[in-house]
Each structure stands twice: as C-alpha cells, then as structure tokens.
Symmetry: C2
Subunit: 308 residues, 2 copies
C-alpha cells in the first residue's frame, strides 16, 4: 500500500493541533483542542491517541497508508530516542518516552521534535526561507524560541538544544529571565514582559493584537512601542548575523503581526550594528506559514526520518 | 611524482611565517619575517614568493613534489576565488587576486583563507578540539577573531564571513568598536582596550605577558584583572553556547596564556549564564597548537581543497 498520508501534531501551551497531511504535505483535515482542558499528562497523551485514531477511523484512512506521525513539542526533546525531557509551560512532563507510548497505542511509527525546530524546517522547505542555505527562524511568544538551518540542514547541536536565541544576553545585567540567567532577549521581548510595558503605556485592558492593529494604522505610540521591541530583537540578531553570516532570518509568532514598525526597526539595527558584509547578505522575512508551520514541519520531519 | 610536501604561509599583522610541511603536516622547515619590514603590498607579496621559492631551491624540493601552497590572511577573503578583500591591520590591500598572482609567480597551486578559520581547522583536526563536532575557536589579540566547526566541517557562511565572535554585542550601549558599532566583545577584550585598563592598574610600562605571569603566580591584582576579562568573554560565549549547543570552545592567542584566572572565570560565567543542558555539554580548552596553528591549518586547507 502506498504510504501517502502523514499525521501531524503540534502541541503548544495553549492548543493541541492535529492534522492529516497528504503526500504533498497539504493539510486535508484538522482538529484543535485547548491544552488547558486536559487535567494531566495521561489525559493529554490520551487525547493525542484519540486524535490520531480519529483520523484513521473517521476519515476511513487505512493505517497502512500512513507513513507516520510527526509531533512538535514546546520544550527540550531527544528526537532520536523519542523522549520529552520537560515542557516549561505544561506541568507534569519529565523524561516521557512519548514515541514508545504512542507507537504502542496507535501501531504507527512516531517521530517527535522541538516545535521551534519544526517551524524552522517548514519555513526553510516551504515558506519564507525557501532557497536560502543558512537561516535562523524565530518565534516570538511567551517564550522566544528558534531553529537554525546551517548549510541546508536543520542544525541540532549535540543535545538537540541548539537555537535558543531567546537566551542570548543583551546586556551584562538586566531583568531576570525564566531560564535562571538575566538580561536574556526573552526577558526583554517575551510576551510576558512586553504586555507589562504595554499596560503601562496603553492601560490595563490592552492586548498585543490591539497594539499591532494600532501600529499598522500608524498610531505613533504603537509604532514607537514596536520600534523599541524591534531594537532589542535587532541587537541580538546583529550579533548572530556577525557570527553566522546568515542569508535569511524568519520571524514568526504572534508578535510578528506587528508589521512594518517591528520589521523596519529590526532591519535598521542590523544595518547599524552588524558588519557590512554580513548585514548586506541577510534578508529578514515574516514567517509565511503562520500557525500551520509546526504541522507542516512535523510532516517534513516524518518524511526525512522515515523515508531516508 | 608523489606530492608529499605542502608550503604553509601565515601572514599576521606582526609576522609573516612560512613553513614546509611533510605529508603528516609536520613542520620540517620554517622561516619568519617582520611584516612591518615591507614598504608596501608589492614588497610583501614579493617576499611571500621568495619564501616559497627558497623552500624549493634551498631545500632542493622539486616543485612537482609540492601539493600546493596554503595561506592564512588576517582579514576577509574569498577563499574560492582566491581574492583578499582587505586586511584591517595591513594597509594597501583592496581586492587583491592573491591566488592568481602567486600561482603565476611560483607555478604552484595556491589556496587562501582567513587566518582564524585556519586556526579553527587546525585545532579541530589536530589540536584541543580533536574528536568534537561543533566547535568555536577564538583568538584573542588586537582583534578577537573566530572560526566555527559545525557538524564536523568548517562553517563559512555565504560570504566566508562567519565566525566574527569579536563583534557580538555585550551591551546595548558601550565603548565604540573598530567595526563601526559599539559595545562589541572586541571593544571590551581586544588587546588595545585591555592594555589601556592594565596601564591604569599596573603603571605605564606593564605588558599583558607580565600580567599573565603575575596571575600564574597568584598575584591578586593580576588574577582579578584576568577574571574581569574572562567575565566579558564568558558572557559572549554563554549566548553562543545557548544558540549553538557547542561541544567545545578553544581559546588561543596571546591572552590565552593568562591561564587559570582567565579560564576559570570564562567557565564560571558560562555555568551561570548559559542554559543547563548547553552549559554541561561544552568543554573549554586552551588552544594546543600555539603559534603554529595557522600554518598547520593552512596545511589541512590545501589537503581538503586539492586532494578532494
């Protein structure tokens, strides 16, 4: 039987998204659940199993026609052993052999990875960074995560822990960061910090979406707000551009919808602070695949790992 | 005829070093000239030609037994086209087709590259980082240069400009840097800056060698001096370790002789400021090949490029 389908799962702090992809990695069916609605790890794993089985049962897809299941997780993962080390924003996960559990429950091959890496893979294969060789993709959310493409391959580092752009220090001293250090990029531009700043400026019922809207319609205060966020982000990126001589940077996550105010500021700081050859080389893009990037990346991961 | 010899050249701001390497890349003969003794670019190139020819003439090495000439240069280089873009510390070089000139004058194949990249290649192949996969090698001198080994290969970036660790910002604002930016690592720990600090503390006739000696014999003021340098360096490295999940960092150049005071400080800052998985993974070493690293790296470059 031709194994033409892939089941993709993207587990986030907010939503559990599941999709059925065809052989062109197009999304043919999709479901979504609130992550918070599961009482514990076991319930969450149970719902992943049901989601997988529901695709094969409800859509009458024979398991023999499914190449495998790809899963992106918001935390450090041993992709080769299939173990989730922990999930910073979902309590109760500690060295869970997720691959083994799911393979037993679904009788399908399962591949897992960190979600920021899958987003990078998707944007490199099918999104904004298609055709570039050395790429940093970052997601701006509660956390500031990243994935690196180096010489046309997803770069993992020895422990699959590469890409932690959120924990590049911006100053010798500065705000305390969730990682235990201080003055990390995430401590300045993670959603937690910027929403606090936003409330001081715009009042307590403001949302980041609202400030993005205001900036897109040229509200001066909102433009200035995103300009400041862009300055912090641009500085971290300038250092990385000098170090890695990247050809592309892709910015995704909720904050990327701030638009021109954010992107122009990032680009300007790179021009000012990076060396001329490196600054000229790098293009800065908004992520093209939006909230589907994790699912599509999971599809590419399954292909790379199970067709190789 | 078996091409068993390689001629290696390491052009620095201070010395022009030339060596004859055998097929095991051992140095069999060596010569050295003061770079400052040459009036201009033409004289300097002439002396490189003489040095090459003197090996073949003086040591009676048939040109047919020389695989090629490898040259390391202290500035940005197009290694594939053989062009030297410019040399920050040697005036008069602007887009010089060095490979073509030398091949015409010596009738030998010539390969050129940036010196920090060759040092990294040498330390990875035959020095402190042998056996590691993802390595940053840095040289602390007037400039702070670096070379990256990623997934067991020298990583260049699109313009052969990767590795500029000296130009990672340590703060949003800080001392002006030679690159046109501010607060770069080099602006804090380049020799120019630290010798100024040293004179304030130790008097105007102090040298960095002397402070290194003092630190090795536990002079408290000297230990504190290198500890401060190590804190700046360690912070830049902590960010890179988070980003790249490196397994090894190799520190070379004159300042690396400061010994324990510098290295312990670097390691402590990495432990404090990098994420736990990444901090645990990375080993920090002193460069093993000393001032020969550039020559040996030039040997590996010739092998990689001309035997491939």
């Amino acid at each position: 039987m031709v194994k033409k389908f892939i089941i993709a799962i993207d587990l986030g702090g907010t939503n559990l998204k599941c999709a059925l992809l065809n052989s062109s990695l197009e999304i043919k069916a999709k479901s979504s659940f609130s992550t918070k609605s599961f009482k514990n790890k076991e319930e969450l794993i149970g719902s992943i199993v049901s989601a997988i089985n529901s695709f094969t049962l409800r859509l009458k897809i024979a398991k023999g026609s499914v190449l495998g299941v790809g899963i992106g997780l918001p935390g450090p993962v041993d992709t080769f052993k299939g173990i989730v080390h922990f999930l910073p924003n979902i309590p109760g996960w500690k060295d869970v052999c997720l691959k083994k559990i799911l393979e037993r429950e679904t009788c399908l091959p399962v591949v897992i990875d960190n979600d920021a890496k899958l987003m990078a893979l998707a944007e490199y294969k099918a999104g904004s960074a298609k055709g570039y060789s050395n790429v940093l993709c970052l997601t701006l959310g509660t956390g500031v995560g990243g994935g690196l493409i180096i010489a046309n391959s997803l770069y993992r580092g020895k422990d699959n822990a590469a890409g932690e752009i959120g924990h590049i220090p911006l100053n010798e001293r500065g705000p305390v960061c969730g990682c235990g250090s201080q003055a990390c990029l995430e401590a300045y531009v993670g959603n937690g910090r910027i929403i606090k700043e936003a409330r001081k400026l715009f009042g307590s019922d403001i949302t980041l979406e609202k400030i993005s809207q205001l900036a897109r319609s040229n509200n001066a205060k909102a433009v200035k707000f995103w300009d400041e966020v862009g300055k912090k982000l641009g500085l971290a990126l300038a250092g990385i551009v000098n170090l890695l001589n990247l050809d592309a940077i892709v910015i995704g996550g909720g904050v990327s919808y701030a638009g021109k105010a954010l992107f122009e500021s990032v680009k300007q700081v790179i021009r000012l602070r990076a060396m001329s050859v490196q600054a000229k080389r790098v293009s800065v893009f908004k992520a093209a695949l939006g909230s589907d990037a994790g699912l599509i990346g999971a599809g590419y991961l399954v292909r790379e790992r199970l067709l190789a």
